[in-house]
């Protein structure tokens, strides 16, 4: 897995609440049997009309917004367990998603793909939206070691929570499969004592 240590970049705002994984990547694109190509269809039906033309009012299509940080409304990633959603966001070029709330499965899927979900307070989120709206060149600094996110120009900073184990995995680029395989003896011993 790709490491994540720190990132300083501009952000793309998506001020919509309850963005579900069907919007992130619609089900009709889940027929692939590999992980490639999902970025093209990220937010497909919000980004493009039926003829495949870009919708001008959608932030990802607006030139003034760019960067590797996606800032989204409350309860991001609800709905289906499809990991294709995390693959699509990562493949499009985002490395961090910021929201005031993440759905559990999406959060886990992101962490397993080196995409960092940063949960901030509703107040900080609204400051972010305001700052990006005022100046799309606003720089954000995300520091995983210190578990902090900073609006550089405004000198506004907030700490975020992350599971200590997952933090270590991201900082070192390790993933869960290697870890679990290293525990197979323990798992076999558990199976032996399992009575029911």
């Amino acid at each position: 897995m790709e490491k994540f240590i720190t990132l300083t970049d501009t952000a793309v705002p998506l001020e919509i609440e309850n963005i579900d994984t069907d919007q992130i990547i619609p089900a009709r694109f889940l027929k692939a049997t590999d992980k490639a190509g999902f970025g093209e269809n990220l937010f497909r039906d919000w980004r493009f009309d039926n003829e495949g033309n870009e919708k001008e009012d959608f932030p990802l299509n607006q030139e003034r917004y760019h960067g590797q940080v996606l800032v989204a409304g409350d309860n991001f990633g609800c709905g289906s367990s499809r990991e294709h959603a995390a693959w699509a966001i990562k493949a499009y070029g985002f490395k961090v998603v910021v929201s005031s709330y993440f759905a559990d499965i999406f959060k886990g899927n992101s962490l397993n793909n080196g995409l960092l979900p940063v949960q901030v307070s509703p107040q900080f989120l609204s400051e972010l939206f305001k700052a990006i709206e005022e100046n799309p060149q606003t720089q954000l600094k995300v520091d995983l070691e210190n578990q902090s996110i900073k609006l550089i120009d405004k000198n506004l900073e907030e700490k975020f929570d992350i599971d200590a184990y997952k933090k270590m995995c991201l900082l070192k680029g390790l993933d869960d499969i290697d870890f679990l395989v290293s525990k197979l003896d323990k798992i076999k011993a558990f199976e032996k004592q399992q009575t029911v």
Partner: protein, 460 residues
């Protein structure tokens, strides 16, 4: 220490707790399907790791399958390729597959319980968020992403933080015509779509105790729609009677022995929850959704509430509704009875009982999709197929179908569909489709009337 039902099952499956980190949780049954497994199989191949416990995995094809002519090669080439990969992966790894056409084939959350694969006290996972369904048996069951599917392939375990505990109590007497689907839609409309995030939810109270297993599955199925990773109900006589005698359920002495253990799977008196809510059964009515998430639901007799938020405005604009209006008498051209929420025999009995002797309205396309081959066979055995066909409903072959519209069963853009599925997200049933979630009874009544009706007005 006093323990909840959830604690008892969880604690019995922890291989190791990592300090300040997740638990290694042992998984008793891993269910897989064609859409979320191929990349996981590839991951193992790339690392040259074998599947650790193939005998604890069961596969089915359900999400990306046609509901017509299942005996013919699948027309859509990408779908055919995905199904072929599932078959190959299962063959190469000695995994039991109930593929298209097999008598045990069906939606993963319908076929596993009906075959007795799902049993109380187990831990179960599947690369599908509605795995919460199996909690109806007093099982810890939850959806996982594809990376975790690969973890379970490699170690029969997942790394997961123990969730917090939530209990939702519903006590009292349900009104005539109120179904389990209405109960769960009501709970979600009251609590919202993220109230359960970070929690596992136990449903308690006489309303759940009196429900059939089919009803309990409908309730637990939608736990994820309030954000909860899973939901569960303590096993009781209803559970044991359902499980006993099923194909893969333990038999004879083994069953009796297990039953003694299952009887201990109850929340201890005085055990604490991190959060608890209580509702009165009498307050619940048939429910419909008016927006683009399952929390945007109202009693069928109510008007769409005012809400100033930008997201709510976006949802109403998508649906073509305005705050303050009622959904009653809205013309509807599509209804869908199916999905892992409502495609079990009881759902079709309820629908058929209402439809019997009536005709669907001319404007309505009514689609009935059983959850499994076994449910389809039961529909035929009970003669329900005749009722549906005579009323002008299309009875299809099993699968997820129009719930997520990966196959040809799509609702056209701009059209409303009263659907017994679980998600009313934008475009969920096809690009531009507008979903109104409801019970099988509401869907059946809508099909007959050609518009949304409050059928309770006609009940005794």
């Amino acid at each position: 220490m006093k323990k909840t039902l959830f604690d008892k099952i969880w604690d019995a499956h922890v291989v190791e707790s990592i300090p300040n980190g997740p638990d290694i949780l042992y998984i008793d049954k891993h269910l897989i399907h064609e859409v979320t497994s191929p990349q996981a199989f590839q991951e193992l191949k790339d690392r040259n790791i074998p599947v650790f416990r193939p005998d604890k995995i069961v596969a089915t094809a359900d999400h990306n399958t046609p509901t017509e002519n299942q005996h013919l090669p699948v027309k859509d080439l990408l779908s055919r390729k995905q199904l072929k990969e599932l078959t190959q992966n299962c063959e190469e790894n000695n995994i039991t597959l109930y593929g298209l056409g097999h008598p045990y084939n069906g939606i993963v959350h319908v076929m596993a319980p009906e075959l007795g694969i799902t049993q109380p006290g187990m831990t179960m996972v599947c690369g599908d968020s509605h795995t919460s369904t199996h909690g109806a048996f007093g099982t810890i069951a939850f959806g996982i992403g594809t990376s975790q599917v690969a973890q379970v392939f490699a170690s029969q375990s997942v790394l997961v933080q123990k969730p917090k505990k939530l209990r939702v109590n519903v006590n009292g007497k349900l009104k005539n015509g109120v179904t389990p689907k209405d109960v769960i839609l009501y709970i979600i409309s009251e609590l919202g779509t993220n109230s359960g995030t970070g929690y596992f939810c136990e449903y308690a109270g006489n309303v759940f105790e009196e429900m059939s297993m089919e009803g309990r599955m409908t309730v637990c199925n939608m736990s994820i729609e309030m954000g909860a990773r899973g939901g569960l109900i303590a096993p009781d006589k209803t559970t044991y009677n359902y499980v006993e005698g099923r194909e893969f359920a333990p038999k004879g002495e083994a069953f009796e022995k297990l039953k003694i253990y299952w009887e201990s799977l109850k929340t201890d008196e005085g055990a604490t929850f991190d959060q608890e809510y209580s509702f009165e059964a009498e307050a619940i009515e048939p429910m419909v959704t008016y927006g683009t998430n399952p929390g945007m639901g109202i009693k069928i007799s109510q008007a769409i509430p005012e809400n100033e938020s930008k997201s709510s405005g976006k949802a109403l604009a998508y649906m073509g509704f305005t705050a303050g209006e009622s959904l009653i008498d809205k013309p509807i051209n599509y209804i869908f009875i199916g999905s892992c929420t409502n495609s079990r025999i009881e759902d079709f009995r309820i629908a058929a009982n209402y439809i019997k002797g009536k005709q669907k309205a001319k404007n309505v396309n009514a689609l009935i999709v059983p959850g499994s081959r076994q449910v389809a066979a039961q529909i035929e055995a009970e003669g329900l197929h005749t009722i549906f066909e005579e009323a002008g409903f299309q009875l299809r072959q099993p699968g997820c179908s129009a719930c997520l519209a990966m196959n040809d069963d799509k609702i056209p853009a701009g059209e409303y569909c009263v659907s017994t599925s679980n998600r009313n997200f934008e475009g969920r049933q096809g690009q531009g489709s507008r979903t109104i979630l409801a019970s099988p009874l509401t869907a059946a009544a809508t099909a007959i009337a050609g518009k949304i009706v409050d059928y309770t007005q006609n009940l005794n």
